[in-house]
Amino acid sequence: MNISRRGFIAAAFGFWVCVATPFPPAQADAFTDGAQKFIGALGDRAQNSLLVKNITLEERQTRFRELMLDTFDLHGVGKWVLGRYWRRASRNERQQYLKLFEDFIIATYTKRFKAYTDAKLQINNTTSKKSSAFVKSQINRSSAKPIRIVWRVKFTDGKYQIVDIVVEGVSWIQTQRSEFVSVIRNSDGKVSGLIDALIKKIAFLKSSAG
C-alpha cells in the first residue's frame, strides 16, 4: 500500500521530530488541534443524524440544513464565490442570492447522502497556513475506494467554521466560483442573471428529474 507506506514513513519521521527536537512542531498548536476536533465532531454528528437510513428526504434536508448552518461559513463563502460581483450586487440581490445559495446546496447534496450511510470519516492530520487550518481526512466505504477530503477551517467570532471542502484535489468553492462568475459574465455582468439561473436550477433539482 503505497499511501500507507508513505504514511508510515511520515509517522516515523514525525515521531523522530517529536522525540529528537526540544520544541514541538509549530503545526501542533491549539488552533489546528481545535480544527481537527471540530471536524471529528462534525463527522460524528453527520453519522448520527444525516447519514442514517430510513428517514424521509424532507427530514434529511432539515437535518442537513441545520448541520450546514452550524458549521459552514455560508455568508463568507457566498461572498467569495461571487468574486468582484459581490460589490456590484444591490442589498436586495445579496440577500436573495445568499438564500438561494443555501437552498442550492441543500437541493444538490441532500439526495447524495443516502449513498453514504456506510461511510466512515477518518481524520489523518491537520496543518495550518495563515488563518486557515487544513484538516486532512478520508471517507472510507466498504464498497469503494477511500475518498480524500481536506476541510479548510477558519476560527472567527469564537467558533470554527468550514470555508472549503477539497475533494480529491478539487476545491468546492473554486468550482462554484468558476460557474457562478461564468453565468454572471454571460448575463452582461448582472447578478440578477445568476439569481434567475439558481431559481431555475433549484426548481429542477426539487423536481423528480433532479
Binding site: R84, Y85, R87, V166, S171, S178, A197, F204
Partner: protein, 272 residues
C-alpha cells in the same frame, strides 16, 4: 485543421481593455477562445447523447462490474510503457519502480492485466502522461481549449497526448506491422471505458451545475494540477487563497445601491 485555427481566431472573445479587475478576471479564466470552445463543447455533448452515452449504456447493460473492471485494469496495464517513460522523464524513481513492479505482478498473477493484483498487495496505480511531464519541466498550460471528441485540454496537454502516442511501443509495433486497427480499436475501447468510469460523476455534475461548461473547465484544471503534483497538492496550493476576501468589512463592501463610490484596487475580489 487550418480551418479550425482560423475559426478559433475569428471567434476569440475580445479582452477587456480598460477595467483592470475585468482584465484580471479575463486572464484568470484563461479561455480566450471561449465562444469556439463552447461551440465544440456543444458538439461533444451532442455526440455524447447520440452515440457515446448510448453505446456506453449498452456496454454497462451487457457486462457486469467485474468484467468492466477487468477491461479497465487491462487497459491500464497496457499503458505501462508510457507511464513508465513519463515517471522516468520526471525523475520519479520510486514511482517508476512502482510502475515496473505493478506491470510484473499484473501481467502474470493478474492474468494479462485483467486483475489489479498489485493494488491489493500495496502498489497503488498512478497516472502519468507527457502533458504532466511538460508541466514538471516548467511548461505552462497555455489557454484552455476544448478538443472535438477528446474534450477539455490545453496546448501543453494536447501536445502531451500526441507525444504519448509516439512513446507507446504498441503503436510502433502496429505501425510497422500494418496493424492500424489495433490503436484504433484500443482508442475506441478506451473511450467507452472512460465514459463508463465517469458515468455517475458526469450525471451528477450535469444535474447540479448551472454552467456545465464552466464547471468542466474548472474541474479539468484542478484535476490536472492535482495529477501534476502527484496528489500532494503542493503545486495546486490545495485551495484558493482568499485571505483578504473573507474579511469584507471595509467600505468597499457596501452594496451597489448603497454607495456611489466604488473603491477599486482594494479587495479586488480575485483569488490568487
Amino acid at each position: 485543421m487550418l480551418l479550425l485555427a482560423v475559426f478559433t481566431l475569428a471567434s476569440c472573445a475580445s479582452a477587456p481593455s480598460n477595467d483592470p479587475e475585468a482584465l484580471t478576471e479575463y486572464s484568470k479564466i484563461n479561455d480566450p477562445a471561449e465562444p469556439t470552445n463552447r461551440f465544440i463543447f456543444g458538439f461533444n455533448q451532442g455526440l455524447d447523447k447520440a452515440i457515446i452515452k448510448p453505446v456506453t449504456a449498452l456496454y454497462r447493460a451487457i457486462f457486469p462490474d467485474v468484467v468492466r473492471n477487468g477491461v479497465h485494469n487491462f487497459l491500464n496495464n497496457l499503458k505501462t510503457p508510457v507511464v513508465l517513460a513519463n515517471d522516468i522523464l520526471q525523475g520519479e524513481a520510486e514511482r517508476a519502480g512502482d510502475t515496473v513492479i505493478r506491470f510484473a505482478i499484473n501481467s502474470t498473477v493478474g492474468i494479462a492485466g485483467f486483475r489489479d493484483q498489485a493494488a491489493d498487495w500495496g502498489w497503488e496505480p498512478h497516472e502519468e502522461d507527457f502533458g504532466q511531464t511538460l508541466a514538471v519541466w516548467g511548461v505552462g498550460e497555455g489557454p484552455y481549449i476544448m478538443l472535438p471528441l477528446f474534450g477539455p485540454s490545453n496546448p501543453r496537454d494536447a501536445i502531451g497526448k500526441v507525444v504519448d502516442f509516439f512513446l507507446d511501443p504498441i503503436n510502433w509495433w502496429a505501425e510497422n506491422s500494418d496493424n492500424d486497427w489495433v490503436p484504433l480499436t484500443r482508442t475506441l475501447i478506451n473511450g467507452i471505458d472512460t465514459r463508463d468510469q465517469l458515468w455517475d460523476v458526469l450525471d451528477d455534475l450535469e444535474k447540479s451545475s448551472i454552467d456545465f461548461y464552466a464547471a468542466i473547465r474548472s474541474l479539468y484544471r484542478q484535476r490536472r494540477n492535482e495529477d501534476i503534483s502527484n496528489g500532494t497538492g503542493s503545486k495546486n496550493n490545495e485551495t484558493p487563497n482568499f485571505s483578504d476576501n473573507f474579511e469584507l468589512d471595509d467600505p468597499s463592501d457596501q452594496p451597489a445601491d448603497n454607495s456611489s463610490k466604488i473603491v477599486s484596487g482594494k479587495n479586488s475580489g480575485t483569488a490568487k
